[in-house]
Symmetry: C2
Amino acid sequence: MKPGVSPDTFPPRSHEAKRVSVVDAAASVFCREGYAGANIDLIAAEAGVSRQTVYNHHGDKEKLFVAVVRDLTERCNAGIFATIASFPDQPTDLEADLVAFAVRMNRNCICNRDGRFLRKLIQAEGGRYPELFAEWREQGPGRTWSALAARFARLAFAGHLSIGDPDVAARQFLALVNAELQITFMLGGVPTEEEVLRSATNGVRTFLSAFARKKSPAGKQAALVHA
Amino acid sequence: MKPGVSPDTFPPRSHEAKRVSVVDAAASVFCREGYAGANIDLIAAEAGVSRQTVYNHHGDKEKLFVAVVRDLTERCNAGIFATIASFPDQPTDLEADLVAFAVRMNRNCICNRDGRFLRKLIQAEGGRYPELFAEWREQGPGRTWSALAARFARLAFAGHLSIGDPDVAARQFLALVNAELQITFMLGGVPTEEEVLRSATNGVRTFLSAFARKKSPAGKQAALVHA
DNA sequence: ACAAATTTAGACAGGCTTGTCCAATTCGTC
DNA sequence: GACGAATTGGACAAGCCTGTCTAAATTTGT
């Protein structure tokens, strides 16, 4: 385990671990107390390190804040694109598949620790670091909407939906499945699994009512009405 | 100008005026800097009064903050209900009337100074004053949704829409007409008139596609189904 | 014009926070 | 076991902020 290149022993082992736990604790404290109210001593205590270690690793409060935002942005984007990769391109039950996708999106990206923290930091400090959050906006929501719009366009092309503008549809999809969670988000709360499921179900139903395939053979429409 | 009751001289004339300008300046500073970062000297300067006057009127920082939130809540609610009163109960052009209503809602309640400030304070400090913002939640969004749901139910009853759950429809209406403004709201920006109009138009179109009257006697196919 | 209330500017103590410095200690590696 | 790097705890100066106090100036009502 010692000689040569051992499998899982990196030179800065506990060093890097401390760095991570400082960033994690800082994210939590910055969110709870705001940038001005965040206290380096508290961050250090919550990370289980001394104050001096915080300064050794990150220089000063502002650099630490930037490191926190970059960290959260990166992890959130990774989660979002991983989830979008699971979009139901060949749905068997369109409603059920889209509801499941929306629930995954919420659970893995929007309601989890990173998502809640990043959202709050953007809302609270967005005005003070324009370039930092402009970067997030391009890399995050911008690409999210594009990717999602492409998936919806594909569903429309395959005849499952009737969509005018896929970009608008993608944004409206996200707005609809989160419609009933807005207040909870605003107050910083975490919706229950039931709330997420209900909002997603209601949202997807309305979405499908609006974007259901419209140009279909008359016979099929009649059959649909009968059912 | 001296004897009797002069026309525009209230006993606490400039006194009350100063109180208002202190609250206004405080709202601005609390939003920009956060509660912890807000500086009483800066608030006093921005209000054009001395620091001591701030303390004379409001006691301490926390009481001032509460006064600001109550003030914003009251004004925002008043604006919201005034706007809901202009809901198109007897629409001539349903789409155009709903778009105009959505634009009014955005301009007068959500994007104006009070709306932006209150939203930011709730997001930033909601966790620290649970009872204060719980009160807002009941009086504001709770009653807003109810009132709006009642209006939509009326439209459905009159045969203009086909709605399952009016409460869900009301929340989804608001979510849809704001779908394209979310990011701007998050970053604390003010959307342009064009953006508001576009988001409202796209949102109302999708809303009407989803909730358009389905069982109408107009279509021939529908008549067939009726039989 | 007079008297009362309000406002102002400034000084002030007390507390808290950031960021630095340093000696002692612990940790990882050879 | 020994060496060097990282970490710790604490002291420290400097600055900022809140909230109070005072005496002078201003405004308000009569």
